[in-house]
Each structure stands twice: as C-alpha cells, then as structure tokens.
Symmetry: C2
Subunit: 183 residues, 2 copies
Amino acid sequence: MSSSPPETLEAKPNDSGEPGSSLAPVRVSLTPQQRFGDYLQSRGMRSTQQRQMLLKLVFSGHEHFDADQLVDRLPAKGQPGYVSRPTVYRTLAEFVDAGLLRKFELEGRSVYEHDYGYPQHDHLHCTECGSLIEFQCDALSDIKSKVASEHGFQVRSHRLIISGVCQPCRKKRRRVRRKVDRI
Amino acid sequence: MSSSPPETLEAKPNDSGEPGSSLAPVRVSLTPQQRFGDYLQSRGMRSTQQRQMLLKLVFSGHEHFDADQLVDRLPAKGQPGYVSRPTVYRTLAEFVDAGLLRKFELEGRSVYEHDYGYPQHDHLHCTECGSLIEFQCDALSDIKSKVASEHGFQVRSHRLIISGVCQPCRKKRRRVRRKVDRI
DNA sequence: TTGAATGCAAAGGATTTGCAGAGGC
DNA sequence: GCCTCTGCAAATCCTTTGCATTCAA
C-alpha cells in the first residue's frame, strides 16, 4: 500500500490548528495513514471507508478522547461518513494494535491518545475540570530502569498520572474564596 | 467513638500472616477500625455489622483486590456475615472516602489497596500473569514537585504503573523457548 | 467471486440506583 | 421511634458479540 510518497509527519497533523496538542511531534517516516495501510495490508485486512473516516478524524488533532467523543464527531446515522458504534470500538482497537494510538483508563472509561509520531509523555489530571495536561520528564526512564533491574522486571511501558488541581481551577477557587470571605 | 485504646498499626494488620504485603506498615496512631469509627461518627453514620465485616476482611491482609474478589471472600447468601454486592460497593466507596483505601483502574476494573497505615508506593504490573508488584521510589516526589511548579499545578496524588513481564513469567518464557528450540 | 467488514440488535460485565423493609442509636 | 442502612431487583454505562448483509479486492 502506501501509495503516496513518504514524508515526515511534522507538517501534517496540526494543519487544522486544533487545540490540545502541547508537545512537538516526533519525526517519523510515514503518515499515520500510510502506516495503517501497511498494517492492513500485512494482515490481509481491507481499507474501508469507515476506517479511513476514523483515521482522518482521529489524526486531525492531538486531543485525548474516548469512544463517545469520537462518535459525537462523526456524521449522524443516515448521513454520509456515518460509522456505527461497534465499528468505532473495533477500529480503535486496531489503531492501538497498529501502534497508532495508546489507550489508558481514566475514571472508569478508556481514553485514547496519539502514539505514532507523538513523543513519550505523561499526564497531569485536574480532578476539578477533568482536563489532561501533558508533560515530559526524562528522569522517569532512570526510575524505570532502576526498578526493573531491582525486580528482574522487563519493562514494556508505563503510565504516570499526577492528580490535583490545574492553574485555571486554582484561580477560580481563589476567586470563590475571596467572595466567600467578603460575605 | 474509638473505644479501644490507641495503638500503632504495626502489629495488627499482618497477624494473619497472609501473603501479598511487601512493604513495611507505616506508624499511625489509630487502627483502621478506630479511624473508620471516627469517620462514621463525624458524619452521623452508623456502625453496622456489614461495615464491620468488610472492615475486618479488607484489613486482614495487604493484597490488592477488586470488588469481586472481596465478595468471593464473604460468607454465601443466607450464611451469617453475608453482605450484598451493592453494599460492598457502597462500603468500598466509604472506605476510600475515609482515607482507608485507595482505588485505581486496571484493565477496566477498579482495584483497591490499603492507604491508611501503608506507605506510599507504586506498581509493576505483569501483563502475563496479572500480578501487581509494589515498589518505592523517592525520586518520584522530585519529579512531582518539579512538574507541579512548571505547570502551576497543585498535586494531590499520583499513580505510576509500569507494565511488562515479571521475573517468574520471564523464566517460564525461557523454558518454553528452549522446549520449542528442541523440536 | 469470496471472505472480510459493517450495522443491527442483543448480550455482557461492572457498577449504581430506587425503594420497601430491617436495624442502629 | 426516627432515620440510616440494607438487600433486592432493576437500571445504567461502557463495551463486546452473533449474525445476516454489504462491499473491497
């Protein structure tokens, strides 16, 4: 597959100028579309309109999202481009399998984020507004290798989520507190 | 409340000699029972047989567990000490609220572990056998405070899970590989 | 043509809820 | 006795599955 010529991802994913991408993309040789095409081809799977539609939506921005949010961004039933909920779930699993997306659990639901072409990072989770803020930290790999060697553990991946209150929510809180004080 | 005299937790929770506790308990002034008693009292809630039963079961060992595993350890319906599933869920939420337990999501289900009287720690998760191994790492608090100050984020807690393959599973794999080689 | 993929409807599993009766305080 | 708590049954939420049909190759 991969009919179009190879190129780096850097220009691509943020054409839309959508919010939510805080980190710089990583240099990779194939677009997600190309990489997924290779994945399908190598497994005798087919490139369908639904898979293309979802690929387009998922890689039009860098936001974290869950299955529901993705469904909400799809055309309604009956409209061209509509994809059923079961197919959304099936396809998300394929994207994860293909290495395009990473999946993790937050408050009982599955959250997805870009993996391919996106740098390793971790998250701050605001328990007030629910926002997820990305950050990078090199020191973590030292911790991982140290712990791994201490326990004879073979590390495949990790997930660090720091919970608390983000800056905007702290400011809101302060405003509220001042108001209360005045009463 | 708190009728019995204060004491440290150190002797208590592991009387049973159950497996699963890898870290040394932390010195605290109240038993979980006392602390939960205070919690109930301060909110006008009642000390019921069900809550006492669950308290006893949950603090008879240090293993991680989910609601199902706790239900399995309860007497069967009709037997004395039986607690219904809804009450188990309601009570686990109360234990979390009281600061006795911590809750986190793993593979789509809620996992609980001791919080009160148990030291801060993180987990290695073996994707082969599903085991959770605890480890402690001081360097993480440096990371947390650094990231917090960089993002103006107020940290309340964190959750780090390192996934991979544990030592026993790696050994099993090696044995299998050797067997395959011989064929 | 042919088998893979989709959509539908329905199932599944974990967790929650409404409510009438039971039981702490 | 009052009001909280419990157990039951049913509902909810997210996700998956079986199957007939559609469609990419």
